[in-house]
């Protein structure tokens, strides 16, 4: 992904109002604009998955409610808090990298990865508990959706670790440190967080 570093001046930098006095840079798309194609495309694909789920859910609400009652809302909340915190540190990492403070940026990236790993551990725990309780992928419609949505999100998160790896690789080498790449990778990580926020409310809270 180092190729993007030489991409030259980014569109949207010139002729835009400054960033509302927070000391952040003037108007610009954070990272490669290309990454936003992935963000918006995945957002639309997930919108479709969610719509299918909600439609079937409200059409068979008794089964879904009964199955939903076996989920542990505390674990879901813990997951959400972990990912939100990881996003906060990812933002810290970007802000530090932007200011040229690469050591704090590296620390923030590592904390992000650590919180993400916490999410993975909590998710696997939840899955193991459910499977031991006799609720598998094929148990019923609710669990099919549950394992599908959490599973595909899990996969996105695993890709997120590769992405954090790219950030750490960029920050460690004095010759690299492409601000654009760090921001691009951060955008991906926030997308994973964003999708989880939606999945959490749709699987655990919706009645």
């Amino acid at each position: 992904m180092t190729g993007a570093a030489q991409a030259g001046p980014r569109p949207g930098v010139a002729g835009q109002p400054p960033g509302k006095g927070t000391g952040e840079p003037a108007t610009a798309i954070p990272g490669q604009p290309d990454m936003w194609v992935l963000v918006l495309f995945e957002a639309l694909v997930f919108t479709a998955y969610f719509a299918v789920y909600l439609f079937h859910r409200s059409a068979h609400s008794e089964l879904f409610l009964r199955s939903q009652a076996t989920l542990n809302p505390w674990l879901g909340t813990l997951d959400t808090l972990l990912l939100l915190a990881s996003s906060l540190f990812m933002l810290r990492c970007v802000q530090a990298a932007r200011a040229g403070a690469f050591r704090p940026a590296l620390t923030s990236a590592c904390i992000t990865a650590f919180l993400g790993a916490g999410f993975l551990a909590s998710k696997i725990t939840e899955w193991v508990l459910l499977v031991h309780g006799g609720h598998g992928f094929t148990s019923n419609e609710f669990f099919a959706y549950y394992f599908f949505l959490t599973g595909i999100h899990f996969l996105h998160l695993l890709i997120g670790f590769v992405v954090i790896g790219v950030i750490i690789y960029q920050l460690r080498g004095p010759a690299r440190r492409s601000r654009e790449l760090v921001e691009t990778c951060a955008t991906y990580w926030h997308t994973v967080d964003l999708l989880w926020v939606l999945i959490f409310s749709l699987l655990y809270v919706v009645r």
Binding site: G12, G23, V39, A43
Partner: protein
């Protein structure tokens, strides 16, 4: 690093976490002594809160607020779209059951 930016991100995170914890209360409100009951109010609130969180993540964490207007509009459009689609499919499902 700018202190103001730092404070701002921390505030965002606090709001997001507070909404998340608020879900737990919402979670209880619909239940009948532990048994889950269907509730359009809870569903609608949950979806709307999720959209508020999504927009906050876009604006603050992903820094869309500093991005060109096109990206702001696209992300807002998506938030509106998913809100309409989610509520629409939920209520259509209720109607056809």
């Amino acid at each position: 690093m700018n202190a103001q930016a730092k404070r701002r991100s921390l505030t965002t995170w606090l709001i997001l976490s507070a909404i998340t914890l608020g879900y737990l209360a919402l979670d209880r409100s619909a239940d009948d002594h532990g048994a889950y009951r269907a509730s359009s109010v809870v569903t609608t609130t949950a979806i709307l809160l999720a959209l508020v969180k999504a927009r906050l993540i876009f604006r603050e964490f992903m820094q869309v607020r500093n991005a060109p207007a096109l990206l702001c509009r696209l992300t807002d459009l998506w938030v509106l779209l998913i809100g309409a689609v989610l509520l629409g499919s939920y209520f259509t499902g209720l109607a056809v059951r």
